[in-house]
Structures are given as C-alpha cells and as structure tokens.
C-alpha cells in the first residue's frame, strides 16, 4: 500500500526549531531547516545524521523547502548545505530569499559576540547557500523533477511567508509553515485552494487560543507605550529588522498621527531603509490596502519614525526605539539598555519595567479550523506547538471533521496509508455503448463500475472497448477454449449415450439453453460435448468437453457432474 511518512526532526510537539522530513511517492523532502536559538552548540541544529547514516544528504533528499525567513525555520540552512554538505535544490519565495541572508548575518554577529560558539557558518557560506536557492512565485507549479511538483500559497505571517503544496502523482501534502488567517495592517490573510491533500501539516503555536481580538492587544500595547511616554520615559522595543516591526511601525505611526504626539520614534540605523527597500520590492506580497495606497503614499515611509544614532540615547525626554536582536545582544541596544536601566520611567520590552507582549502572527484555533475547511485534507498533522495544547486541538479536529489527526514527537514517524485515485481517460465509444445500455448519465458524484480494457500508453491510462484495444495495439484476437476428457461406462451406442446426456442435463439445468445438434454434439451455452467409444472396450465411452473462458464455472461444473456418471 502506498504511504506517506512524516518525521519531525524539530517542531514535533515543540516550538524550538522546524525541520520536518516527508517521504511521499518515493521522494524525500525536508520542510524547513530551522535553528534553535536557545543553544550555543550543535544542539541548535537538527541532527542530520538521522537522515542518512553514511550516504550524502544530496543523494537522499530530493529538495528542501523553506516556508519563511525566521531563523527557527531557516537558520540551519547554511550549516546543512555548506558544512554537512547538501547540494540539491532549495526552494523559497523571492522575498524569503532576499531577506534570509540579512537575518542570518544578524545572527552570525551575535554568535561572534558570544564566546564558546561552535560550528558556525561564515558570510561566504551564507552566500554560497543562497546561490543554491531556487525562488518560488505564488500559485506557480514548480516541477522539481519528473514526478515531484510544488506550489506555494500566501501564508501571511511575515513578508514572503508561504504554505506549500507538495504533489507526487495523486498523493499530496500541504505544509503551512507559520501562517495567520486574519489580515493585519500590512499583510493579508493566508489562503489555499481546496486541494484535498492526503495530509495537511499545520503549525499549532496558538492551538488552544481563540485570541481576543487583535485590537485589544494593540490597544494594550499603545496604552503602555503612551503611558511611558507621558511619564517622560523611554521605550525600547526589540524586534527583528523585518517582519512584525513593520506592523508595529504602522501602528505607532497612525497612533502618533491621531494623538498628535511629538516624542520621536527611532528605528535602528540602516535597517529602516533596508526594510522599506524590501517592502517596496515585494509590494505585491503586502495586503490590498497597502498596495492601493502605494501610489499616493508609501506606507513604509514614516513621518514620525527616524533613523537612530547612538548619541540619541543621551537625549533627554521621552522616545521610542526599535532595536534588532543583533543590536540587542551587544550592539546599540545593549548600550541603550545600560543607559536607561537606571530609570523606572523607562519601559523596555526586558527588567526596569519589562513587558512581554506578543504580536506574533500565528493562526489561532479558529484559524486552523478555517484552513482545514479551505483545504479539506484527508488527514491532519500538527507540528510547531506544545504537546498539551496540540492534544486538545487534535480532539477538536477529529470531532469536527472526522479525520485522523496526528502529532508525532521529534524522531517519531507518522505513516499515513493513501488510496491514490488514478485518473483514467475513457473512450467515447465505450461511453456511448454504456449509454445505449440505458444506464444513467455519467455523474462525477456517483461512482460506478465500467468494463473495458485498460491500456497504459505514454504515461497515460485509457479505458477502451476490447475491440478498440486490439485495433490500437495491432493485435489479433484469439479464442481460448478449455477442453477436458471424462471417461464413462455406458453400454449404449454413441448416439444413445449422447441423447442420454442431453436428457440428463436437460432435467438438471432448467434455466440453461441446451441443444442436441444434428452434427452429433450437445451444447450447453458455449460448452460443447461429444462422445466417442474406446477402441478396445465398446462400453467405455470418452466424453470430450470444451468451453470458452467465459463459461469456466459452468464447464468445470459439467465435467464434475458427468464424472459421476449417467442415471441408469
């Protein structure tokens, strides 16, 4: 039985790092290749030795697909491709390919800043890795090889995030990566075809949350920032250069405008420009509103948000500063942090007044259910979430959709048996013949049996009538007949014996056509019976039975019947 196997090396019942292996139709695919930010040693990377023991990764894997640029989804990629050694194709969307190196460089800086870091990649390795990347366009089917095809769908979450539909023959898997089903200020909501995959592999970060409307969260955030600013404090917001930062920038910009606030907002130097550059470049990936207003006003050119300079940290009075992790670790924001740490008025998204606020865009339970309704998968598999929360959602899904839901731990393999439906073309003649027999009109919703000859020619299957099959294949028709001899003791003439057989069968087989033909044979349907005497013994008769393969059952029955002899 064909089966699809899914083995998470990471993201199986955790949110550490995503790395999921899928075997489908003889192809092996790696979905995401993330890094765990919590470790300084090899434990941060997935253990690739589980994939193949002594063979090369390139021989085993057909391709790697990266869903988006966050490091827990792509951070181990240069390590895998340049240090472990993987030479095969890597797929990601255009924006992800452009932004990935920025984040990898930012993280590389942190690792240089820390000590005791092992096995980390260089700038050259990041570049060499990126050169192996094949960019994907949304909704464009990409043929990885003759059999394997992939197609990307919009996932929201961050600029360039994509879900992928992976298909081999009639089997398919959808991997969502991180996604959100509600549009936000700068990105749209995830969307997918009703592609009915065999398995839908979905993230489940917020598996048990039905999030309070995002507005509440935003209001809360603005309130807190506003309070600090009013008190004359300073606000430091750690963010990645790209991603949620833009969402928060737009939020603050509008709020500042509305409240007519004067306190300056800063974004780390150089990064605003870079971010804007990418948003302009990939404007089609943002939401409709931004695309519409782009011509009149670029939403990513902010009136209140300016580039930050080190010396500004000394300026008196309130301010808001966005800082990236690279900065936060040892660079500018560490200095800012040290400078501001003494003052309670200052708010920092770390301990003077530390507020952890989540603005990450993941699908909540409602969103996940919504996606299931959209894609109509045959099975569901949850990753990138906590075990307990997954368990709860799994119950919900199985109850509501009556499909199996799996949640393998890291290292565990889930196998799903598929019943691939094989599409077959049918000849018009055969269809017409069926119609002529008076059957109902063909209806895709009502499956029914059809008889014909199946021809496999040039990678396609065709059901035709047997005559047409013979004609197309240039073959002659042969009749296949089975014959058998039965010995009988019957002291009559041959013709009498034959007649006795005729009457005997006539009495037993009422519903069958039985004929006594003038050429000295008895016919039961297509079965021919002849009688001849043995040369040595006139009483010993030899019955010859012959039948076509259609009457195999009846033929065998008659032979066994006649072996028992004739009634006296």
């Amino acid at each position: 039985m064909p089966e699809i196997k899914v083995t998470p090396l990471g993201a199986g019942q955790d949110v550490g790092r995503s790395c999921i292996l899928v075997s489908i139709g003889g192809k092996n695919i790696m979905l995401d290749c993330g890094m765990h930010m919590g470790y300084n040693d090899d434990r941060r990377f997935p253990d690739f030795s589980y994939i193949t023991q002594n063979g090369r990764l390139t021989d085993f894997l057909d391709c790697v697909i990266i869903s988006h640029f966050h490091l827990d989804h792509c951070g181990a990629l240069p390590y895998m491709s340049e240090m472990v050694g993987y030479d095969g194709p890597i797929y990601m969307t255009h924006p992800t390919k452009a932004i990935c190196p920025i984040l990898l460089e930012d993280f590389r800086k942190i690792t240089v800043d820390k000590k005791g870091e092992t096995n980390f990649f260089t700038s050259q390795m990041i570049k060499d890795c990126m050169k192996k990347v094949i960019p994907l366009n949304l909704h464009q089917t990409v043929q990885v090889d003759d059999e394997l095809e992939i197609k990307a769908y919009y996932a929201g979450h961050v600029l360039g995030a994509a879900m992928v539909h992976i298909k081999v023959g009639s089997e398919s898997v959808v991997y969502t990566g991180d996604y959100n089903m509600t549009p936000d200020r700068h990105l749209g909501a995830a969307w997918i075809d009703k592609c009915r995959p065999d398995i839908l592999i979905s993230e489940s970060t917020y598996a048990t949350t039905i999030r309070d409307s995002k507005r509440c969260r935003e209001r809360d955030f603005l309130k807190k920032v506003h309070e600090s600013i009013e008190r004359g404090g300073k606000v430091l917001i750690p963010v990645f250069a790209l991603g949620r930062a833009q969402e928060l920038c737009i939020l603050l910009e509008t709020f500042w405008e509305r409240m007519n606030l004067k306190a300056p907002i800063y974004f780390s130097t150089g990064l605003t420009e870079k971010a804007n550059h990418y948003y302009k470049l990939f404007i089609t990936w943002t939401n409709q509103k931004i695309r519409k207003t782009f011509v009149q006003r670029n939403m990513f050119e902010f009136k209140h948000i300016k580039a930050f300079d080190r010396s500004y940290a000394d300026n008196p009075g309130p301010m808001v500063v966005f800082a990236t992790p690279g900065m936060l670790h040892a660079g500018q924001s560490l200095q800012i942090f040290k400078k501001w740490a003494g003052n309670e008025k200052n708010m920092l998204d770390v301990k003077m007044q530390v507020e952890y606020m989540s603005f990450s865009a993941h699908a909540d339970a409602k969103g996940i259910m919504q996606l299931i309704r959209m894609a109509e998968p045959r099975n569901m598999l949850l990753v990138h979430g906590e075990a307990a929360k997954m368990e709860f959602l799994k119950g919900k899904i199985e109850q509501e959709f009556s499909i199996d839901c799996y949640m393998p731990a890291n290292g565990e393999t889930t196998s799903v048996i598929t019943n691939p439906s094989v599409p077959v073309d049918m000849s018009l003649n055969l269809l017409k013949r069926e119609m002529a027999l008076g059957g109902p009109l063909p209806d895709p919703k009502k499956p029914r049996a059809m008889h014909g000859t199946l021809i496999m020619k040039e990678n396609s299957l065709k059901l035709v009538s047997s005559e047409q099959a013979l004609k197309e294949l240039g073959l002659n028709e042969h009749q296949l007949r089975f014959t058998c001899r039965v010995q009988l003791q019957d002291p009559h003439s041959d013709s009498d014996t034959l007649h006795r057989i005729y009457t005997h069968l006539k009495s037993l087989l009422k519903d069958y056509t039985i004929q006594h033909l003038p050429d000295g044979t008895v016919m039961v349907e297509s079965i021919v019976i002849k009688v001849s005497s043995s040369a040595e013994d006139a009483n010993s008769k030899v019955l010859l039975l012959s039948w076509s393969y259609q009457d195999e059952d009846l033929g065998s029955y008659l032979s066994s019947l006649l072996k028992k002899g004739l009634p006296t």
Binding site: G38, H70, D72, D113, D146, P325, S358, F359, E412
Partner: protein
C-alpha cells in the same frame, strides 16, 4: 560550585520537584544538566556540594507526579551522580536507584509512553554505566530486557540512543571481563571492584543479546522493514565497536540469518553489516570466509540499482580486496559505458546478464539516480591502484565528457542506449552537477593534460548556454579552475577556444541571474590565484588575454545591483592586482580610477558586504606591497579608509579596518612583531629598545596619528561591538608597550589627536573618576592647559594627548572585560537558576493575567 548557586539550588530543586511545567524555556533543564556535568568534570562531587539533589531525586522518584520533562531530567541527573562509585553508593542507600531505573514503575504511572522519558532512561543509564557496580545493578534489575525492546522503538531518537547504550553495555562488559582475564591476580580484580561473580552474572547479557539479534533477524513475512533496518544498524555498530572474541561470537549467532537476508531482502544497512564484519574480523576467524562469500553474493547481484549501491558502498569503505574492488569499479562504470558508447570495460567483465539488465534499466526514469551514484563515486575509482582499474583514467574522462554532452542534448552517438538515456538526463541539473563534480575530480588523473582542449570546449559550451542552471555554472567554473590549476602545457588551447571562453565569461558576467554573475566574478578571482598575471608561465594570459579583459568586466561589476556581486568583484580586483602590487609595478590610470571608485563605495554603499570588501582590498594592497610607504596613492587613501571604516555601521567593516590599522602599526614598529610563532612573549611591558631614542618613537607615533591609525584604534576602543572594541584594545596595548618609554613623563602633549563623538568624553570622565592620580590630559588643539578639566569639544570632536591617553587608560582592565563573552551574565549558572525561580513565581502568582502568556518568538 559557586556559593551563591549552592544557596539558591535547594529552592530551585523544590520548584522543579513541585511543578516542572513553568520553566523559562525548553532549554533550561538541558542547560542545568550541562552545568552539573561541567561541575562533575572538574572533579567536584555533586552530592557533596549540593546534598539537596539527593532529596530532589527521591522526591521525584517516589511521587511520580512530575511531568515527563522533569522525570527525564531526573533520570539523567541520577545517572550523572551514579557515574561515580560514591554517588552510586549514596543513591543505592536511599534505595532510589533501582526504583528510578525500573521501567515498570514508569509504565504503571503511564509515563513510559512519552519518548522524552525513554530518552531520559537511556541517557541516565548511559551516564551511570561507568563501573562494575553499575553493570551489576543493570544485570540484577534485568534491565537488558527493556533495553532490547527499545532497540526498535517507534522514535528514531530513542532507538538510536538505545543502540548506542547497548553497544556501551557490551563494551563495558568486554573491558571488565578482559580485565578479569588479563588481571590474573585476583586481588587486583577485587581492588578494581570486579569480582568473578560479576563477570559470570554479566555474561548472561551476551546470551540475551545474541538471542535477541538472532530472533530479530529471522526473515518473516510480517517483519516490519524499518525495524529490521534498525537491528542492522545496531549490528553494524556492535561489529565496529566490539573486539574479538565477543565480536565473532555475536556474528556467529546471526550469520545464517544474514545469509538469508542477503539472498532475499537486500538493503543498504545490510551491506553495512557485511562490510563492517569484513573489515573488523581477523583473517583467521571462522566466519570470515562466510562473510567474504556473502560479500561476493551481494557484489554479484543482478539487480542493477541495488548492485550499484553495493559497489559504491564497497568502494567507499576502502576494503583491502583488489579483486572485489576491480569488479565494483567495473559495476560503477557500466552505466557510463552503456550510456556513452565508450568501451570502458572489457567485454563481459561484469557479466553479460548485468549488462543487459543495466541497459534495460537505463531506459527508465530511475536511470537518473543510478547514474548519479556512479558519478559521485568516480573519485573512489580514481584513487584505486592502476592495476585494479578496469580502464585507463583517460577513457573515464572521455566518457564523462561525452556524458556531459549528452546532458546538454547533444548526442552525437547513434547508439540506442545513448538516445534512451539522453531522454531523461537532458537538462537535469542534478545529473549535470554530479558529472561536473566528477570532471573536477578527474583533473587529478595522470593523463589529464591530453584532454585539456576537450574539457575546455565542453565547459565553454556549458558556460555559453543560457539554459545552464546557476549551480551547474558554478560547478563548471570550479571544474575549469581545477583543470587549469593542474595543467602545465596549454599549447592545445587554440585561439578559437580561448576566444570562445572569453565570450562565454563575458556573457555570464551580465547574466540576468545574480548567482551566475557572482560565480563568474568569483571565477576570475580564482583564476588570478591559480595563475597570477604576469607570471612567467603566463597561462592566464594564454587563456583570457590579460587584465585588459578581466578588469573592465570587474569594474562593471562594481556597479552591480546585487551587493554580493559588488563585494565579489572588489575581492577579485584585489586578487587580480596582487601580482602587480608584489612586483611594485607603477599604477595605471585605470587602477587609480578603481581606487577612487572603491573609496566611494566605502562611503556610500548601502550594503555591508561591499564595504567590507573595500577595506579588505586596501589590507591586501598594503600587505602585498614590498614598500607600501613609497606608494603615494595607497598612503593617501589609508587615512580616509581608516576614518571611514572605523565609523562604519557594520561591525565587520570596523573589524577589518582595525586589521588594516594593525598592518600599519606593525610596519611602523617592525621589531615588535613576534619573531617566531613559538617565541615566548614576555608579559612584562616592553620598556625600551636598544638604540631607539625618544625622538624616533615620537616621530613614529606622530606618523601613526597622521595616518589615522591612533584615532581609529581609540574610536574602536569605545565601539559598542565587542569584537571591535576587543581588537582595538589589544592593538592599543601593543602600542602602549612599544612606546612605553614615552609614557614615563607625566604629560607629554607633543602628540595629540582629534576624536569624534561623545562617547569619548564619557570614557575619559569614567577614567578620570577611576584614576584620582594622573588624570588624562584632554585639551583643546591649542593644548591649552587651562582647559584640562573638561575635554575641549569642537562640535562633536574631542582633542586628546595620545601619550596621556595610553598611560591613563586602564587598558588591561578593559581587555579583561572585553574578553568576556557578551552573554556571560545571562549564560551563568546563577542566572539560569534565578530564571527558573522567577518563571515559577510568575506561574504560581494568581494575580498574573492569564491572557498574557510569555511567548518567546521573533515577531
């Protein structure tokens, strides 16, 4: 163990035992364990320094209400403590050891299902099993049974760890029993804690393992393939790690099953077992012959896809077996032989049947993976002894070339096999990449040079084609470099070939794909390295004309929209010009223009990669010049490169700038360079140089200020990026020690420099507070003594006296601070312990807002 940590630890243990669910993050427990392991490794007894751990383990073991994460941690911790005999004794005395490693205990609690717990159990045992007492416990508690069950666990991680543990148990048994045999002296044995009793009781393990392996390898219809694969992996591991006689003893129990598998259900892990057995068994072993026979059976299989895998595995394992090696090489070359029509093999050397079957197989899609295996293993063939090789290497090169042509859809051969194969391989970048790699490797073959022109022609075709995938292009360039690198005679390269290559390179230098442009620019750099311009053997001139071809292309690439390409072109320019710099040749007009352009890039380019490359360009220029000071353009550019570089936003630009400053520093004070890499460097500051007078030193120092070295170092010192500040600090210490004789006099205002930025004012103030004596002289440019109290600022700029700064700054203290990792506080054990406490308080605080989860993510 730190006193503070010891004082916090009991509370942490309480918290962990009570509820493990509210941890700061999913790495906390692993990190805690890391700390315990590191402590143990320093020879400290965990139980002595933290007796609370014993209570913790007991609490967790007896209550069994903790979550699987905490339990797993506890099992590992128990193992760690029990690894020492004292720890083992203490744990046994409170009768926790048997309980905690008893799987039934966890099964009854319904926790064994969690793979996390099973991993903890395995790793805990693995840590504990270091001595005979532990092994005895393992045997008495009959833990071998559950361990054997875990060998084929549903979790890949668990089964793999269980394989390792089983091997470890056997190794421990082996070393103890060999101590038993060789020790001779009974007293010695007792002293090392190994009683004969122990060895006898432990020998049951071997029986168990043997029976288990025998049972698991019997071919059953129902046997689940992944499980038997795991057993084969285990067997390979055991064969590789164990020694005779145990090794052979195990092998003998399974050899019949192996034979059945070899003939009925072949797999790659099975091949690994046979290869491991073949290489680790002594020649006089009973089973050796049988293993060799099995190896032959596998190698002479008739299923093309399988036999190719076997042949590749055989060659990779480097077995000393020339006959089999020659056959394996033949098998691997067979697809190439058939596909290209070039007779690499003597007729029937691999058998007629295999050839027929292989020819058939090559007509299907699966030929791609088969051919890839052949191509990737060609390096194994080329290293074989010439008498084992089925054909001269020249023929293999020719076949790979023909095959690469086939991949481009150019099949000049009319053989049916060629046509069939080309249907599948044409345009397949996977196959092309493998073939290019093989071609690269083949450049090392002895008769390579004869085919140089052919290789050239083919690679040019690939480079010329707009259809070539960027990754294939990159490999084509690599192959070209490899071939050019090894060849001495370029007479076969005609003008036409050369022109063709130049055209192709030119075309790819303006390819629409940045990956292709970047590889092209990088290729020019590598080319300059394998054959520098102007060198006598001048292959580059022969090949690509001269600088007049390369430099205009690179100049164009300086304007590339992709910053990676700009950076590569700058690096390549440096590589290309190195030779003329070394020769001290006068700069051309073109080169002067390049320097101006590079300076523009340094000040204007928005991307760090290009700016980093510019600074490295100047470093390369400076270091390859025999007399940099006589090159006026270089010396003119250096101050601006230093001042711009050190003020850059990118930390690597700054770091590279300091490397340039270091070169200048070493040039100015050459004798300070370590004479020998192993020379002992004195910790004492270098006081005075013989024959060196103060005015010379002053003069040198002044020139360093003028060149911008000192301002760059001082700027770097207050930089917010630790690696930059560290480098600057190290260089300043070097400078301070060199000019120490100048620092004796309290205030020597003769050398001063301007520094930009407010940071310096603070740095000075900070130091002034710290140093009540000898406050640094910070004055205006006019060195107005009256302005000494507050640094004179000109806008943002500050003027400082260099000698005073060097004398008063506590560089050594700063160095020790900068040497610390930026996360040393956050990563300290104390911080970890405090985080665990904080997280638990937050979780148990009923007032906390349930909606406000702490979500660690990356926006």
């Amino acid at each position: 163990m730190d006193i503070q940590c010891v004082s916090v630890l009991p509370r942490v243990c309480e918290v962990l035992a009570a509820s493990g669910s509210s941890l700061p993050d999913d790495t906390s427990l692993e990190k805690l364990l890391d700390w315990f392991t590191a402590t143990t490794n320093t020879g400290v007894s965990l139980l002595e320094s933290a007796p609370c751990l014993l209570d913790f383990i007991s609490n967790v073991a007896f209550s069994s209400t903790s979550g699987p994460g905490i339990l797993s941690f506890t099992l590992k911790l128990t193992g760690l403590i029990a690894a020492s005999e004292d720890g083992f004794k203490a744990l046994e005395e409170c009768s926790v050891l048997k309980l905690i490693f008893d799987p039934h205990h966890w099964k009854e609690a319904g926790l064994w299902e969690d793979p996390c717990l099973r991993i903890g159990w395995i790793q805990g045992l693995r840590k504990m099993l270091q001595h005979s007492k532990a092994l005895r416990l393992f045997v008495q508690a009959d833990l071998i049974e559950p361990l054997l069950q875990l060998q084929t666990d549903s979790s890949l991680f668990v089964s793999s760890a269980a394989n390792q543990l089983l091997a470890h148990v056997l190794l421990l048994y082996q070393s103890l029993s060999s101590a038993g045999c060789n020790g001779a002296n009974k007293r010695d044995l007792e002293h090392s804690g190994v009683s004969e009793q122990t060895i006898i009781s432990c020998s049951g393990i071997i029986t168990n393992v043997s029976e288990y392996l025998k049972k698991s390898l019997v071919l059953k219809e129902s046997s689940h393939p992944p499980q038997s694969q795991q057993i084969l992996k285990l067997l390979t591991l055991l064969l590789v790690q164990l020694r005779p006689p145990l090794q052979e003893q195990l092998l003998l129990t399974v050899i019949d099953s192996l034979e059945e598998l070899v003939t009925k259900r072949w797999s790659l892990p099975l091949m690994d077992v046979i290869l491991a057995a073949n290489s680790s068994l002594q020649d006089d072993c009973v089973s050796k012959q049988q293993i060799v026979r099995l190896l032959s059976i596998m190698l002479y299989m008739k299923k093309p896809a399988d036999v190719i895998q076997v042949a590749a595995a055989f060659l990779r394992s480097r077995q000393h077996d020339p006959t089999h090696a020659a056959y394996a090489a033949g098998v691997l070359l067979l697809p190439l032989d058939i596909a290209t029509g070039i007779s690499l093999l003597k007729t029937n050397s691999t058998g007629v049947d295999l050839r027929i079957l292989m020819t058939e197989q090559l007509k299907s899609k699966s030929c791609i993976s088969m051919i890839c295996v052949c191509l990737t293993n060609i390096p194994q063939i080329t290293v074989m002894a010439p008498d084992c090789l089925p054909c001269p290497q020249r023929l293999i090169v020719a076949a790979v070339l023909t095959f690469l042509r086939l991949c481009r859809g150019d099949s000049s051969s009319s053989s049916t096999a060629c046509v069939e194969v080309s249907r599948f391989v044409t345009g397949s970048s996977k196959v092309q990449k493998c073939a290019m790699e093989a071609l690269s490797e083949l450049s090392k073959s002895p008769e390579a040079e004869a085919l140089l022109a052919d290789v050239f022609k083919l690679l040019t075709e690939y480079l010329n084609s707009p259809d070539s995938d960027p990754t294939v292009l990159q490999k084509s360039y690599k192959a070209l470099i490899n071939w050019i690198g090894v060849c001495r005679d370029f007479s076969s390269i005609t003008d036409q070939l050369r022109e063709g290559l130049m055209q192709a390179v030119r075309k790819r230098a303006c390819d629409i794909r940045w990956e292709a442009r970047d590889s092209t620019v990088e290729f020019l750099g590598h080319l300059a390295e394998v054959c520098p311009i102007g060198e006598e053997r001048e292959p580059l001139k022969t090949l690509l004309g001269s600088c007049s071809f390369t430099i205009p292309l690179l100049k164009e690439a300086l304007q590339d929209p992709e910053s990676y390409v700009r950076a590569s072109s700058i690096a390549t320019l440096a590589q290309t010009l190195t030779f003329s710099w070394q020769q001290g040749a006068a700069l051309t007009q073109e080169q002067e223009e390049i320097v101006t352009q590079l300076q523009e890039i340094l000040s204007q380019d928005s991307e760090g990669f290009a700016r980093r490359a510019v600074v490295k360009f100047f470093t390369a220029w400076f270091s390859s010049c025999p007399s940099p000071t006589s090159c006026s353009l270089l010396m003119q550019s250096v101050p601006s490169v230093l001042s711009q570089g050190v003020a850059d936003l990118d930390w690597e630009v700054k770091l590279h700038t300091l490397e340039l400053a270091e070169l200048l520093l070493d040039k100015t004070f050459p004798e300070r360079l370590p004479l020998h890499p192993y020379a002992v460097i004195s910790n004492q500051p270098h006081t005075c140089h013989a024959g060196e007078n103060e005015s010379d030193l002053l003069c040198s120092l002044n020139s360093l200020v003028d060149q911008g070295v000192v301002p760059a170092l001082l700027c770097g010192l207050v930089d917010c990026d630790r690696p930059v500040a560290l480098k600057a600090c190290q260089l300043l210490i070097k400078l301070r020690d060199t000019v120490s004789s100048l620092l004796v006099n309290a205030a020597d205002p003769r050398v001063s420099c301007m520094l930009p930025g407010q940071s310096w004012v603070q740095e000075m103030r900070g130091n002034k507070d710290a140093h009540t004596q000898g406050a640094p002289h910070v004055g205006s440019e006019s060195r107005d003594e009256a302005a000494e109290e507050t640094p004179c600022t000109d806008g943002d700029a500050v003027c400082v006296s260099v000698c005073e700064v060097l004398r008063t700054l506590d560089l050594d203290k700063k160095l020790s601070v900068l040497m610390q990792s930026s996360d040393h506080i956050y990563n300290s054990p104390l911080s970890l312990l405090q985080d665990i406490l904080t997280a638990s308080t937050a979780a148990s605080n009923p007032n906390s807002d349930p909606g406000q989860e702490v979500i660690v993510d990356c926006y």
